[in-house]
Symmetry: C2
DNA sequence: CTGTGTAATGCTCTGTTGGAGTATAATAAC
DNA sequence: GTTATTATACTCCAACAGAGCATTACACAG
C-alpha cells in the first residue's frame, strides 16, 4: 500500500517536477459531452447511437488538454463551433474497461446553436424532455408526476423497513417532487433522477453494472427514454448545472442567434428552466442589467406588434465579475 | 485519428457495455485534496512537503471509486474523518508523467475539524492566507494590494501593445481587485490568482512546465508562499468553491465542533469569506432559517455576557432541498 | 374600414429581504 | 461600582421580486 507521493523541493528553491507515477495503475480516460442547443422552443442535446448515448471519445496523447480534446472531438463530429464549454464531473467506473483497468469519464457541458449535425457519425438532436418528461413544467406540472411517479415513489418510501429510512425517503420524495404544497425546484434534476433510480423506476437501474438485466427489478417504462450506461445521469447533471448557471451568468446568449427579440430570449430561458416566467419582469431585469442593446431593427414574424431586435453586449463578460449577472427564473 | 467511440445497442433492447478502450492511451490519475479546517479563526489547509504541496496520491485499482480513493488516502494520512467531500476540477497536464504519458489530476475539496495530523507523513496545517495574502479582508483591505499588486498589475495591463488587449487587461484588474470604486468580490479567488499568474507576478509563473526557471521572468516574491506545480491554483479553486458554497448550502457546520456559540459560527464564516459580517443580521438569518437549535447550555469562555450554545440541526439536510439554505456574506 | 387576435411595452402596487443602526441585557475583570 | 465585552432585541430604509393593469402597434379576416 502506498503513501502519499513524495514531491521533492530542491534546496536551491527551484521546484522540481514530481517523479512520474509508474504505469502500474494505467487507466483510460473518456471525454463525454452534453452538447446543448435550443431550437423551436425546445432544449436539445446531441446524441448518437439511435439517441441512446451521448457523444464521447477517448482522451488521447495528441490532445493538449482535456478541453482541447473535447473540442476536437465535438467539432469533428458536428462541425459546430463550441461556444461555451464547462466541465461537469469526473467519475470512475470500476466495472467498465474490463478486468484490471479503470475507465475514468470526464463529462463536459457545451453550448451551441443547433445545426444539422454533419459530422462523421450519425448524430441527432433530441429534446431534453424526452429523457426527463417530468422536468418540463412550461404547460403546468406534468400529470405523469401524480399519475405515474408519486404513487410508486411513495410505495417505495413506505416499503422501507427501517422507520428512519422510511421517513428519510418520504422527505426526499416530498422535497424533490414538490409534495405537500412545496414549490417545485427546477435545479434538482439530478436528485430527482437519482431518486427514481434508487426506487428502481427507470430501466437503467434494472441493468447491472455489467449491462445485463438484473432479475426481480420492475422498471417503469414510462419514465423517459433510457440511455446507455450512466449517460442519462450525466445529462441530468448537465441540465441541473445549466439551470443553475443561467440565474447568475449570461450563458443563455451562447444559445441565441446574433440578433433576437426579447420574447425569443425569454422562450429560450423558459425552455431551459422548464417553466414560464413573468414577461414584464423578465424584460425589466434584462434591460436594467444592460445585457443587451437594440440593433435598431424590428421584426414582425410572430404576428402582433413588431418586436425590437436586440444583440448581446459581449462587453459585459469582461466589464463585470464573471458571476455578476442574474436572470429571473420565476413562476408564470 | 479516431472517431467517436461506437457504443452498441443490441437489437433486443438490452444495452451492452461499451467495448473497452485499448491500452494505447494509457494514463495515470492522481487525486489531490484541498483539505480545509478552521481553527482559532483561521482557515487552514493541510499541506505536506514543507507546506509546499497539497496531499495527493495515485488513483489505484483497489479503489472502488474516485471519492473512495481520496478518502482512503486522506484518512490514512491524517486519521481524520472526512466529513464533506466535493469534487473540484479535473485537468490533464501534458508535460507531467514523462514522455508519452498524460497525467490526469482530479482535485477534491474536503472539510474537517483540524487535529494534529498524525498520519504516515509529515503534514501540517497552514493558513490559506499565507498563500493568498490579498484575500483576507477581515481587518480591512490589505495594504499590499495598493502597494505591491495594483501598480504592477496596471503596469502589465498598460504594457500590452494591442489596444483591445490593454483595455481588457485593465478591466480584468479593476473587476477582480475592485478598482475604481467597485466592491470586492470574495469569490474571485481563482480569477485573481490567474491574473497575477498571467502578469508574471508569482513565482510559479516563472517556472516552465518542466519545473525549471524561465529566463527573463521577474516574479514578485511578496505575493504569498508558492507551492509546487499548480497546487496553488487548485487551492484557489477550492477556496473559491467554498466561499461560494457557504452562501447557499450549510457546509460551515462541517467545520464546527458539535456545540458552538453563534459568534464562533460567525467567526468561522468570516474566516472563510475573508471579511467581517454584520452580527445582528447574521444571527437573524441563522435563526430564521432554523439551521441550529439551542443545547440549553451557555458558555462564558470569552468574557462578556455568556453565550448560548447551539448545535446544528442535521435534519435540515434532508428536510429541505440540498440547495435551499443561505448564509449572509455581507460587508462589515 | 373595422374588428379581433397577438404581442410589445409602459407603469403601478405590494410584500419581502438585505444591509445597517440603536438600545438594552448579562456577565467577568478590576 | 465601573468598565469591557459580548449577547440579544428592535427598528428603519432602500432595493427588489412577484404580480397585475393598461396601452400601443401591427397582421389579418370579415
Amino acid at each position: 500500500m502506498g503513501t502519499f507521493r513524495d514531491i521533492g523541493l530542491a534546496s536551491t528553491g527551484t521546484l522540481t517536477a514530481p517523479v512520474a507515477t509508474g504505469n502500474s495503475n494505467a487507466i483510460a480516460a473518456d471525454l463525454i459531452a452534453v452538447l446543448t442547443a435550443v431550437t423551436a422552443g425546445d432544449p436539445r442535446v446531441l446524441t448518437i447511437q439511435d439517441q441512446s448515448a451521448l457523444p464521447s471519445g477517448p482522451f488521447e496523447l495528441a490532445h493538449r488538454s482535456l478541453q482541447a480534446g473535447l473540442r476536437a472531438w465535438v467539432e469533428r463530429q458536428t462541425r459546430l463551433p463550441l461556444g461555451y464549454v464547462e466541465q461537469l464531473y469526473t467519475f470512475a467506473d470500476q466495472d467498465r474497461g474490463g478486468a484490471g483497468q479503470h475507465v475514468i469519464s470526464i463529462s463536459y457541458l457545451g453550448l451551441t446553436r443547433e445545426q444539422p449535425a454533419s459530422g462523421e457519425q450519425e448524430a441527432s438532436w433530441r429534446s431534453w424532455y424526452s429523457y426527463f418528461p417530468w422536468e418540463d413544467h412550461r404547460a403546468g406540472r406534468p400529470a405523469m408526476i401524480e399519475l405515474a411517479l408519486l404513487p410508486r415513489l411513495e410505495a417505495w418510501a413506505h416499503a422501507a423497513k427501517n422507520p428512519d429510512l422510511r421517513h428519510d425517503r418520504g422527505q426526499r420524495v416530498a422535497v424533490t417532487f414538490a409534495g405537500e404544497g412545496r414549490a417545485w425546484n427546477e435545479e434538482l434534476v439530478l436528485q430527482r433522477y437519482e431518486l427514481l433510480y434508487e426506487a428502481g423506476l427507470i430501466p437503467e437501474a434494472a441493468r447491472g453494472a455489467s449491462g445485463r438485466l438484473r432479475q426481480g427489478a420492475a422498471p417503469l417504462m414510462s419514465t423517459g427514454q433510457p440511455m446507455i450506461l450512466d449517460h442519462r445521469r450525466i445529462l441530468a447533471t448537465g441540465i441541473a448545472r445549466l439551470r443553475a448557471k443561467i440565474k447568475y451568468h449570461p450563458v443563455v446568449f451562447e444559445l441565441m442567434p446574433d440578433t433576437f427579440t426579447l420574447l425569443q430570449l425569454q422562450r429560450c430561458v423558459e425552455a431551459l428552466a422548464g417553466h414560464l416566467v413573468h414577461k414584464q419582469n423578465f424584460r425589466r431585469l434584462i434591460e436594467q442589467q444592460e445585457l443587451v442593446e437594440e440593433t435598431g431593427e424590428t421584426t414582425s414574424d410572430t404576428g402582433g406588434r413588431p418586436a425590437k431586435l436586440f444583440r448581446f453586449r459581449r462587453e459585459v463578460l469582461t466589464q463585470r465579475a464573471v458571476a455578476g449577472t442574474k436572470l429571473p427564473i420565476l413562476r408564470a
